[in-house]
């Protein structure tokens, strides 16, 4: 099963359950208060997911390692490599 189908299946199941509860398609007999909660649940779910996503991405950008040391080390190694390669007879004309 492709990821697309998995997603369609998951979203379909959630929306189906939601529709059943909202339009009384199953004898769940929710109280009016609960119905109100269920009615707005998808919206809240979506909003919390968006917030979670933004927070996660923000955190990961902020903690993305800057490898200053690796860059410096590489520069030194490049100098070393150039000297050694010249000694071995490499000509870069």
């Amino acid at each position: 099963m492709t990821k697309l189908l998995q997603w369609l299946l998951g979203v379909g199941l959630l929306l189906g359950t939601w529709a059943c509860l909202v339009w009384d398609l199953v004898p769940a007999q929710l109280t009016p208060q609960w119905k109100e909660v269920v009615w707005v649940a998808p919206m809240y779910l979506l909003m919390s997911f968006a917030c979670y996503s933004l927070a996660t991405i923000g955190y990961r950008v902020a903690t993305f390692n800057d490898c200053e040391d690796a860059a410096k080390e590489l520069q030194q190694e490049i100098e070393e490599a150039r000297r050694d390669l010249a000694k071995k007879g490499l000509k870069l004309s």
């Binding site: 997603w7 800057d66 200053e68 690796a70 490049i78 007879g89």
Partner: protein, 243 residues
Amino acid sequence: MASKKGSDKYSVLLPTYNERDNLPLIVWLLVRAFQQSGHDFEIIVIDDGSPDGTLEVAQQLENIYGKDKIVLRPRAKKLGLGTAYIHGMKHATGNFVIIMDADLSHHPKFIPEFISKQQERDYDVVSGTRYRGSGGVYGWDLKRKLISRGANYLTQILLRPGASDLTGSFRLYKKAVLEKLVESCVSKGYVFQMEMIVRARQLGFTIGEVPITFVDRVYGESKLGGNEVISFAKGLLYLFATT
């Protein structure tokens, strides 16, 4: 351990295009890394007819380090990454293949870590990752980091690939596994790297990860434009619908 070192051989595939400045340096670093770790190796240079004389430099390196260590398999013109790997693999005598960029953004010092990671659980693929542990990047501004992290997050949510760095191209493969993967991948450019790792998971291959530092191109231009973003989006949707 000693007997393992005796029987395993690592073939490094280096596709190049206009890398005459970088090629000697990456080869020097590779040779040093392998000499220090004591693993058997060969470096296969696949130059796609670079007009800057990369091949001529490669021939000098062949003379310096020997034909058994530096293997030249040039092609007449630029033909794409996937076919470069197929071309290089045909001539690879190792039972493991390492793929990396020749522009010094990938450092050979991580290869011994890739190898010990592979041996740890006999992984089919070991992928370098910029996004985990001590991994990271150098030379990226905030915008680039944001795009990279955002794209990576979206990919993780949609594809759940079981690997944290999909667009990186510093990886070690069992040779037979790489052959199978290249065969089943159709994408171009760096979407190709993403497809390789996603298909690997789909085909049931095991993937290990090693944190790497990515030092963005020291010489030459680095590219991330609108075109890259669009081709990434297309690639993502393609993999979303087919894997």
